[in-house]
Structure formats: C-alpha cells, structure tokens
C-alpha cells in the first residue's frame, strides 16, 4: 500500500504567505474568543463543589435543579454528564458550610425527592488551590516553551527554535480558542492535553527541520525554498501516517473513554489536526522568513563534500 505517490516536490513555500495569513486569522479569532468569552474553567480552577449522581432511569434535570435551588443554594449548575442517567451538579464555594455538609445536604434532598439516586463522586476544591493550579499551569507552560527553545537552539539554531515555538504556541492558542468559543469545560486534564500537544507538535516541526538540515548537507545546489519544499514533501507521508495513528488512539479515547476523558481527547484532536497544519505550513514558513541558511547549520562539516556518517554517500542523484 502507498497513499502518497508524489512525483515531484510540492511547492509549499510558494503559498507560504497565504498560509501565514490563514494562520494569523485563526489565531486572531482564537484570541478574540478567549478575550470576549473566556474559558469555562472547571471546579479545579475556580474552587467549589462538584457532585456526580446516578439514577437508574433517565434523570429529570429540571426537577433536580428545583430540588437543589430549594436548599437556598444559588448559582448552581445541573447538567447531564455522559449519559441521561448521570447528572453533574456544580455548587459554588460557600462560606461557613463545610463541604461534606454541603454535598451531604444536597444528596439528602435529592434522596428525599427521588430515593433512586446514588452518589458517584464528589469533588471539592478550595479557592486557594484553584489559584495555585492556574499558576502552576502557566509555570509549566513557560517551562515547556523555554526548555524546548533551548533544546532546539542547541540542536539546530535559534531561528528554528523561534519558528517551532511560534508555530506551536499558535496551536495552543487555537485549542484554547475552541474551548472558549464552544464554552467546553477547561479542566486540569485538558491543561495536561494542551501541554502534551505542545510537546507533540514540536516533535512534528523537529522532523521537518531535521530533514531541512539533512537536505542542506545533501543537495548543495538547491536554494532554501527548494530545500524546504523537498523536506516537507519527503516527510509528508510520515507526517500523515503518524498523526493518523495517534489520532486513532485519541479517537478510541473519545469513543470509549467516557465523559471524563472526552474533553481531554477533544483537546488532543484539535491539537493534532492543527499540529499537522502548523508544522507543515507555519513553522517552515516562519523559519524561511527568518532567513535560515545552509551556513547556519553546517559550519563544521561545510568543508567536506559528504556527510561522513552517510553510508549512502554518492548513491543519490
């Protein structure tokens, strides 16, 4: 089987400007929604109590809402969670009432209204913990960005590091934009997914950069644009197949992982799709605008005609 029968290098870089404009527009849109709508943060970040209850028959969400409101609690969210029989109740943090009391009260009221209810889980997070989590999340993001940039600058050159990070932060912002636009719940698991995407999608850019470096060594007559086009073309089948495989796993999580893993898998899906796009069209293009050159990468081995490690020396055209 072979899906990719590409006769000649696809001139990706000819349209670099168009891609960059598309990217910028998506990015701007994502930022716009992040600012105007904001993220729908989970209890982990905001603090408060979350209860998940299960009924043997389809739950009457409206009735549950009335029951909970009858307790004098305000700002309570009641919604189905996964199936029609599972219901999630979010209670804001209250002063003076201990959490166990709060969830016990709610459960007692629900039991009184319908004895056929079981508690699946409760979760309480104090407000100070939430703040810390948000803080730590940002710190982790900063560390990831910094660490990857240093590594890429060391292995390649600063231009590549900058290009890869811009491309991948663009992915992250777009994922966040999706979560803001649809008001999907942004939980700790989603944060983990976002950071994993950052590492994963850099991975993608690295593969292409690696090929660019190799091409600079191998094809001494090509100019930078040709080199990049060739690098992308020769790695495109690997890109699609790898992402396809990862996506199969993520899809499996999306389908079988249940509601807890749903948004996690969703964030990964968006991350993978935009990851392909950004590393192919954005990272390489930015690297091109930044003016990558052959001399940047092969200072030491520039004098030699062939890579000494290349067992295939001279075998190619």
């Amino acid at each position: 089987m072979e899906f990719f029968k590409i006769r000649r290098d696809i001139p990706f870089m000819r349209h670099a400007l168009v891609f960059n404009i598309i990217s910028f527009a998506t990015f701007a849109l994502a930022v716009f929604f992040l600012i105007t709508r904001g993220l729908h943060l989970s209890v982990e970040f905001t603090g408060g109590t979350l209860m998940e209850v299960n009924y043997t028959q389809a739950a009457n969400v409206g009735k549950i809402r009335d029951t909970v409101a009858g307790l004098g609690l305000t700002d309570v969210q009641v919604q189905n969670f996964g199936t029609s029989r599972d219901v999630m109740i979010r209670l804001p943090a209250q002063k003076g009432v201990s959490t166990a009391q709060q969830s016990a009260n709610v459960l007692a009221a629900l039991k009184a209204a319908d004895p056929d209810v079981t508690l699946r889980r409760t979760e309480f997070v104090g407000p100070q913990v939430g703040e810390e989590l948000a803080h730590d999340g940002l710190k982790a993001l900063g560390m990831v960005v910094f660490g990857i940039m240093v590594y890429l600058a060391f292995r390649f050159e600063w231009k590549y590091a900058v290009a890869a990070i811009i491309a991948n932060l663009h992915d992250v912002v777009i994922i966040l934009g999706f979560f803001a636009f649809f008001q999907w719940e942004f939980s700790l698991a989603v944060l983990a997914a976002v950071l994993a995407v950052l590492g994963y999608s850099v991975n993608e850019s690295v593969v292409i950069f690696d090929r660019i470096r190799e091409n600079f060594r191998r094809y001494r007559k090509m100019n930078t644009i040709q080199i990049i086009d060739n690098a992308i073309t020769s790695t495109i089948s690997r890109t699609i197949i790898t992402h396809g495989s990862t996506q199969i796993m993520v899809l499996s999580m999306l389908l079988f992982g249940g509601p807890t893993l749903f948004y996690f898998a969703l964030a990964l899906t968006i991350g993978i799709l935009f990851g392909i796009y950004s590393s192919v069209f954005v990272a390489a293009a930015i690297a091109m605008w930044l003016g990558i050159k052959r001399e940047d990468l092969i200072k030491a081995s520039a004098k030699k005609d062939e890579d000494p490690n290349d067992p295939n020396a001279g075998a190619t055209v």
């Binding site: 072979e2 029968k5 006769r7 000649r8 959490t99 166990a100 969830s103 079981t118 508690l119 699946r120 889980r121 409760t122 979760e123 309480f124 104090g126 913990v129 730590d136 999340g137 982790a140 993001l141 990831v144 660490g147 990857i148 590594y151 939980s187 698991a189 950071l195 994993a196 590492g199 994963y200 850099v202 991975n203 690295v206 593969v207 690696d210 090929r211 090509m222 060739n230 020769s234 197949i241 790898t242 495989s245 990862t246 996506q247 199969i248 796993m249 993520v250 499996s252 999580m253 389908l255 079988f256 992982g257 249940g258 807890t260 893993l261 996690f264 067992p311 075998a315 190619t316 055209v317």
Partner: protein
C-alpha cells in the same frame, strides 16, 4: 551490517523476561480479603495475632484460602465476598470484644491473587489511584502561622519566668503576633536580658530599640527554628491523623506530606466523606492528674465505689486507675515529648517538656506530692485513658522524664501518644474528592477499552500498510505496552484515569518512531539502495530524528511532572515513562527483529515493507 552481536539480543531477551515477570501480577486479579492491623500504637500485630485469626476462623468454620503476616498486618484471603463478610464478623467478635475501644482495625480489602513467589520478588500489580478504585481523597492545609503563634506564646511565658528566676526587672512582656516584646528600664537589664535569651533560648533572635527613656527588646523566632517548628507541627499532625484514620478501618490509608504545609489523606474504599471529616477534625486532649492513692480508691480495684472528687479510667492494659478530678497540666502546656535513654540507670525513658506555666504548676505539685503517683490521661471521643502512671521522684520543672518498667519500644509508643494527643496546628480541608466504587470500576474499563481498541486498530493498519515491517512495528508497540506496564508495576507509581489516557497517547506517539523508520527504509529503497543498505540507512538516519523529537516531547513531559499536581501528575508520570520505553522498543527492539529476520540473508532481493512506489521518471526525487 544488519546483525546484532549476541549481547544485544541478550539485553532484549533479559529486558523482555524481566518485563514479563513484573507485568505478570496484573493478570491474576484480586480476591476479597480481611485485613487485621493495629489500631493503637501500644498494640502490636505479630505472628501470635495471625495464630489468633487462624484459630478464630477455624472455630467459626470459615475456610480462608490463605492467611499471611506481612510485618504490619495479618491478611486472610477468601474465595468470595460472602465468606469475606462472615469472616470479618467472626474476627471482629474475637479480636475486638469492645467495639467502643478497638485494639485492632478489621478492614475489608482486596488482595492480589498473584502467587507468593512473585510478591517475594517485589512484583506487585500496578497501584491504582482513587479514581480507579473508589475512595475519599482529602488535602489538608496546616495553619503554620497558628503553630508559630502558639510557640511564641509559650516562649514568652518561659522568658517571663526565666527573668523572674534571675531577678531581672522588666517593664512588661507581651506577644505581638509571632514576636515577643520585652520592655526594660535600664541598659544593664537590657544587656542581661539579651544574654539570658542568647543563653537559654536558642530558637530566638533579638533586636533592641530605644523607646523614649526605656528600651524595647524584640525577640523573634529564628528562621531555622521556624522551619523546625513547622516541620514538627506537620509531622505531629500526620501522626495524629494516622491514629484517627485507624478508627475508620481502612485497609491501606495513605497519609503523606505534600509541599511545606499540606497533608494528603487517601482512603481507598471509604464512601462517606462526612464521617471522615468528623473523625479527622476531632480534637483530643491530654491531661496530667494526680492518682488518688487513698484507701477508698485502692478499694476500687476490688470492686469498691469511686471516692468523691475522683474518677476512674482504664490504663493501657485495661485495669482501672483512680485519679483526682483536679487537672494539673493539659496537653496545651506540653511542648514536646521524646523517647530517650537514661545513662545512669541504663533504662529507656521519655523526656517531657512543658511550657513555663506548666512547669510552674508541676514544680509546686511535685514538691507537695513527692513519691506519689501521677497519671497522664488521653481523652478522645470523650473517653479517657491513662496512658502513663508514674511516681514523682523529685521536684519537677519544665523538663522532666518518665522512666522505669518500659522497654525502648514502649518508650517510643508513649512519646508518640503524648505528642499525638492533639494536633500541633489547626488544619483546614482545601480539597476533597470522593469517588464511588462503581465509577472506579467504570473508569478502569473505559481506560482499558480506550487503550485496547486504539492498539488493535493501529497494529492492523501498520500490518496492512507496511506488511512485515508493520507487523514488526506492531510487535514493538506491544513490547512498549509490556515495558510500560512493567515499569509502572515496578515503581508502584499510582495509575489514574489520566495515566491510562497517557498510556493510550504514549502508544499513539510511540508508533511515530516506527513510521519514521519504515518511511525512511522505503525512501532508501525508492532511491535505489539495496535492501540491506536500505534497512541500515533507514534505521541510522531515522535515529537522529527520533531522538530529537522524543527529547522535545520529554521536555514537555518533565515540565508537567514538575509543576503538575493531581491528575496532571498522573498523566505526566506515564507520559514520561512511555517516551523512554518507546525509545527502547521502537528502535532497539524492532531493529533486533528486523536483523533476526533479514540480517543473515546475504543476497537479500526484497523486503516486505509494502509498496515501494517509484515515480516513472527514474530516481528523481528532487528534480524541478
């Protein structure tokens, strides 16, 4: 060129064998069990306890499939939950006759069915997190400021009495937050006070200031002492929590320090957070009182009435002790208790440190009651127990010791009980999670399905697309899963639902390395390389790329590990391990397979790697 030396194959075989061995316990499943552990630090569980449990079960006619003693607890395994519940009742009746005062914790547990030789190799099933097995998770914040304030308060009392002892006149001592302010009238008093604090209070540092005609000396707790006080407070709270959690009858409670001022409590199998909070939040008190040694009081032993003005409490052996109602010193005055060794008499003792107020009372009382017994009572849940009865042998002050008739472990236990009587600092619950048992089981099956379906589809695709090489990749992926499970079992790292998600993701990403290699081999073939050269070049060239991309992914993983908490951490651990194992399986192991299959064939004509499509225009990859 595509041959591995024998030692490389040896590494692969050994790694696979070890991995298989450590993965093995996960397949045996679990059986219902009853676990007997100590509820009090004064009660030891040993082989004698095991014999009692055996005898009890025999008497009740219940057959246990195995009974074992593991150093801290006796575990009896049963074939079904009905027998388990019956056995629990029988053991409860026999070992804990008084339900209000349990010496043992009898808890229901699940035990791995893996054979004992695996356990001897420290091969255990993966440690499941609470979200997979159900239970209560609490995070408590210890109020360190309160601990420091308490300490400053007792220090200010100590300074006051020291100044009085030395006849240094002062214009008042007051505590201002966590600092102590002493007003002094003349420079001589200032100098001697400073000297005194330096001499006797190593925890304090002083600064002085002129305040009109007077002088003001401000003493504050040194930073290193602050750290020590905080550390002690946290440790003491953990010990207290352990004692209280024991009452809940949890098989494997986890009580751990997290960060500087937090404690995490995890109680698998518990479903009632309100009860947990009630027990954890309870306060215990410690009291020192004189023992009533009048004739009437002694008559109580033989069944007489308790005299007026006295009370009866059981001691740790259960025999009654009659003590006076008047409380001399409470736990509030006790600042420290340490087990030690008295050099003169060559016997273990427990040294107690009281604050100034307690010391003053103790001095007066001991002077008047020389050679009379004194009892230390611990009140919990409104019930008192005499944890120590000792005779006063001299004039006691802020520091004194209890000795005689104890061995080292008894001394340690007593010191622990004295310290653990109350919380060193108040705590507040800042995070609470309760996961029902059905949800835990659901989560396991969801995680399992995600991993297995994704795995099957990927392997099927790889085999179809890359033929034999795809099959090798699939095998490598299976090895990766095996290694991942083995490492997680070995490290006994907590596996959570996000961890299972990370496992799925790790497999999805690990295949990337194999795709890189396979594509590279195809490309070499397309460019006209001989099959052997193509395999060699494919692996060699893909390696640099694989290393680069895995390191950048690992950087992200490590950052998550460093800054993540809770679910993120569970994800990050598996993520990082998965990256490392994938380097071994996808590159080293799959190369081994390929070498084994193709390496020996000198005149290899073709390799089974799916279609190697060549453009009609020969050899031109990069023509324009």
């Amino acid at each position: 060129m595509n041959r591995y030396p024998a030692w490389k194959y040896a590494i692969i075989v050994v790694a696979l064998l070890i991995a298989a061995l450590y993965t093995l316990p996960n397949f045996f499943g679990e059986a219902p069990a009853v676990q007997v552990s100590s509820a009090k630090s004064t009660v030891k569980v040993d082989t004698a306890t095991m014999a009692r449990v055996e005898q009890t079960l025999k008497d009740a006619g219940i057959a246990a499939s195995a009974i074992a003693f593991d150093g801290n607890s006796v575990k009896a395994r049963f074939t079904d939950t009905d027998t388990q519940l019956k056995a629990k009742d029988a053991i409860q009746k026999s070992l804990v006759p008084d339900a209000a005062d349990p010496s043992y914790v009898i808890a229901l547990n699940l035990l791995s069915l893996s054979p004992s030789w695996l356990a001897q190799l420290h091969a255990f099933p993966m440690y499941l997190g609470l979200d997979l097995r159900g239970g209560v998770h609490l995070m408590l914040q210890v109020d360190m400021q309160a601990a420091l304030t308490k300490r400053a308060e007792s220090l200010s009392g100590d300074i006051r009495s020291s100044l009085r002892e030395k006849n240094i006149r002062h214009g008042g001592i007051s505590r201002n937050g966590q600092t102590i302010e002493i007003k002094l009238r003349d420079p001589a008093a200032l100098a001697s006070t400073k000297a005194l604090i330096q001499d006797q209070f190593a925890d304090l540092q002083t600064t002085e200031a002129a305040d009109g005609a007077e002088y003001r000396l401000t003493a504050s707790i040194k930073p290193e002492a602050t750290r020590r006080i905080q550390d002690q407070a946290l440790k003491q709270n953990i010990v207290t929590l352990h004692n209280r959690v024991n009452e809940l009858g949890v098989a494997e409670p986890v009580i751990q320090q997290q960060g500087v001022d937090r404690i995490v409590v995890q109680l698998p199998g518990i479903q009632d957070p309100a009860r947990v909070q009630a027990i954890i939040g309870r306060t215990a008190t410690l009291e020192m009182r004189l023992v009533d040694d009048s004739a009437e009081a002694r008559a109580v032993m033989t069944g007489g009435l308790v005299p007026f003005g006295s009370e009866k409490f059981p001691d740790i052996n259960g025999s009654p002790v009659v003590v006076k109602k008047q409380v001399l010193v409470t736990g509030e005055n006790l600042t420290d208790a340490q087990a030690g060794f008295e050099s003169q008499k060559q016997e273990p003792n427990v040294s107690l440190t009281l604050d100034a107020k307690g010391g003053r009372v103790m001095r007066d009382v001991s002077r008047e009651n020389m050679n009379k017994p004194m009892a230390i009572l611990l009140f919990e849940k409104g019930k008192g127990q005499a944890i120590s009865v000792a005779t006063i042998r001299g004039e006691l002050g802020t520091r004194f010791s209890i000795s005689g008739a104890m061995n080292i472990s008894a001394a340690n236990d007593l010191a622990l009980l004295l310290r653990a009587g109350s919380l060193a600092a108040p705590m507040e619950i800042i995070e609470e999670r309760t996961i029902g048992p059905t949800l835990g089981a659901d989560n396991i099956s969801k995680g399992f399905h995600s991993v297995s379906w994704g795995f099957v589809v990927i392997v099927a695709f790889m085999a179809a697309y890359y033929m034999l090489f795809g099959l090798f990749s699939g095998l490598a992926l299976a090895v990766n899963l095996l290694l991942l499970v083995a490492v997680l079992s070995m490290l006994q790292a907590t596996l959570t639902l996000p961890g299972m998600a990370a496992m799925a993701l790790a497999l999805g990403m690990a295949i990337d390395s194999n795709v890189l290699i396979n594509e590279r081999v195809r490309e070499e073939l397309r460019n006209g390389a001989s099959p052997q050269a193509a395999i060699h070049a494919g692996y060699e060239r893909a390696w640099a790329t694989i290393l680069d991309s895995n390191i950048s992914t690992l950087i992200a993983g490590l950052a998550l590990l460093a800054f993540g908490s809770g679910p993120v951490r569970g994800f990050a651990v598996v993520h990082c391990i998965g990256i490392l194992t994938s380097m071994f399986s996808a590159v080293f192991f799959s190369r081994g397979l390929v070498n084994l299959w193709y390496g020996r064939q000198k005149k290899l004509k073709s390799v089974s790697i799916g279609t190697v499509w060549r453009p009609a225009t020969s050899g031109a990859v990069a023509t324009k």
